[in-house]
């Protein structure tokens, strides 16, 4: 009986959120005196899965799995779970975790908690798992009462820890003859930038205070100097100044980076809902009464158009001094 962790590849490597999930699953496995088994589709160097704590890696094999279709994957993971005798299955609560994990949970009649933020407390057959609710305003402790359990981990809840462990990698042929998905992939548009906002450590975000899309050059420059991803408030994406992928908040993406720098954003409650989990928050706003300062660790009151260029220079100087 092992703990199973579903993992994925992005840009030729194991996803960071998948490594977090393997860390998480291996801690649960240790508590249950068992081992962690990672499952993956596709060709990649699996060393990091071992380093993150997997004892074994199952490479799921079936041509139908190529597009990561949730119907095929849920069926494939169910077969892997049966083969491993796994009652506990861990996902990352990223986009694909949201498309696959609930389907698997329903198939297995497994109680599921999506977006866990802490290690489960295990007593006997019952797990209690904390997750954020009310858009980051509160935490709820869920009890999972069923024998089978599915948990998806909120990205950036734990820093990835790698050891020098290795995993045994085995191929696992899946039988999907009885599963047929009518979904056909017509086109994939992948963001080519190095940084994925959902799991970025550093984020530079800007709002309506930037006045127009033509002024985003300095925001991008600051992000680039810091190695940060860029984000924006909802009106900014509603007005098409920026792509909707950058929209954070209650109705956009919820993120929890190490550092969130908000420039010309007022700090409406719906915006905070998506970013208040960030470890450190910096606010730059010309209005000293802007509500965002109440939720910030560091603030600068002033005109972004003057401050941001100076900040870019300061980051450059800082990097030179570091070297």
């Amino acid at each position: 009986m092992s703990v199973l962790i579903y993992t994925e590849i992005a840009k030729g490597k194991i996803k960071k959120s998948s490594l977090e999930a393997v860390n998480y699953g291996s801690r649960i496995a240790a508590q249950l005196n068992t081992t962690a088994t990672a499952i993956i589709v596709g060709e990649v160097d699996c060393n990091d899965l071992g380093k993150a704590g997997a004892k074994k890696v199952l490479k799921l094999k079936n041509d139908k799995l190529a597009n990561l279709d949730s119907q095929y994957l849920a069926a494939a993971i169910e077969q892997a779970a049966t083969a491993e005798g796994a009652n506990i299955i861990i996902f990352s609560n990223d986009f694909s975790g949201k498309a696959i994990a609930p389907r698997l949970a329903a198939k297995l009649k497994a109680g599921m908690v999506a977006g866990a933020v802490d290690n489960p407390v295990i007593s006997g057959d019952s797990f209690s798992v904390k997750k954020n609710v009310f858009s980051g305003k509160a935490v709820a402790t869920y009890n999972i009462n069923s024998a089978k359990k599915v948990i998806s981990l909120l990205p950036n809840s734990f820093a990835v820890e790698l050891s020098d462990n290795t995993a045994e990698v085995v191929e696992f042929a899946v039988n999907l003859d009885n599963v047929n998905s009518p979904i056909k992939v017509k086109e994939v548009k992948k963001d080519t930038s190095e940084l994925n906002l959902a799991d970025a450590d550093l984020v530079v975000s800007a709002g309506r205070g930037m006045k127009g899309p033509e002024n985003w050059g300095m925001i991008e420059d600051l992000a680039k100097e810091l190695g940060a991803a860029t984000a924006c408030s909802r009106p900014v994406s509603d007005m098409d100044w920026r792509s909707h992928h950058e929209h954070v908040g209650q109705t956009g993406l919820a993120i929890r980076p190490n550092l969130y720098i908000a420039i010309g954003i007022s700090g409406a409650i719906q915006h905070l809902a998506g970013v208040s989990g960030s470890k450190t928050i910096v606010v730059i706003n010309s209005d000293k009464e802007a509500p965002f300062f109440k939720s910030a660790d560091y603030g600068i009151v002033g005109d972004a158009f003057e401050i941001v260029p100076k900040l870019i220079q300061a980051v450059k100087n800082f990097k030179t001094n570091q070297n």
Partner: protein, 246 residues
């Protein structure tokens, strides 16, 4: 086209959250409830647009008690043809999915739409679970939806990008921002909603696989440290030495 839209009833986005009964129950006293924004602005409005161009009907379904009827009436005022309420307190996403699948399994819906997630429990699970229970394909986080004949073309968000999919009906999807623009009900809609059919059905047997044991509020930040705008380099120094963020 026969469309079913799943709507949930959530505290308005500006609600100050608190708990009662020793932090085991959400305190709904004085709280304004609304249709979950994803269900209303994106799923329901897109469903109504499709009905307007292609014909057919839009039914809304809600699993919940009589307290949510204003929310259901608002969905009818926006233009849904009829509504179903399954009369039980929704305990978790799987229990909701079981109720809705029990209702929908033999009704021949071409399209079942849910929101991306509820802004209350933020689980983003119900639509996907419902698809499994009905043995239908599921497309998550749809941002665009077109239907021609029996074929849906859907753009949806994936990790680090978007994907365009084609799928024959019937299917289940969850709606994200981009699907449609919010609408405001007009007077005629509000009047008509009063007399539109609202069917109240008893709950089917359902599993209770999870329960919430307790809630805790997340404390706010202690205090903001202000840095003079003439010395932004001080911020970089604090972020490095004090916050250890860079």
């Amino acid at each position: 086209m026969k469309i079913l839209v799943c709507i949930s009833n959530v505290p308005d986005t500006t609600t100050k959250i608190s708990f009662t009964n020793n932090d085991t129950t959400f305190n709904s006293a004085g709280v304004q409830f609304v249709i979950n924004p994803f269900d209303e602005w994106y799923a329901l409005v897109r469903a109504l647009e499709l009905k307007e161009t292609l014909g057919g009907s839009v039914t809304i379904i809600h699993v919940g008690t009589v307290d949510s009827e204003p929310t259901i009436r608002k969905g009818l005022a926006l233009g849904a043809d009829d509504a179903v309420r399954i009369d039980v307190e929704p305990s978790d996403a799987f229990a909701v999915a079981e109720q809705i699948s029990e209702y929908a399994k033999d009704k021949g819906f071409d399209l079942i739409m849910a929101g991306k997630e509820t802004i209350s429990y933020n689980s983003a699970m119900m639509g996907c679970m419902l698809a499994e229970l009905l043995n239908l394909p599921f497309i998550s986080m749809a941002t665009k939806l077109e239907v021609t004949g029996n074929l849906a073309t859907i753009e949806h968000d994936i990790d680090g990008g978007t994907e365009v999919l084609e799928c024959t009906l019937p299917l289940v999807l969850s709606a994200n921002k981009g699907m449609a623009e919010a609408r405001i009900p007009n007077m005629r809609g509000i009047m008509a909603a009063r007399t539109k059919p609202l069917q109240i059905l008893p709950a089917a047997a359902a599993d209770k696989l999870t329960n919430i044991a307790s809630f805790t509020l997340i404390p706010g930040r202690t205090e903001c440290k202000f840095i003079d705008s003439s010395t932004p380099e001080k911020l970089i120094e604090l972020l490095h030495n004090e916050a250890k963020a860079i």
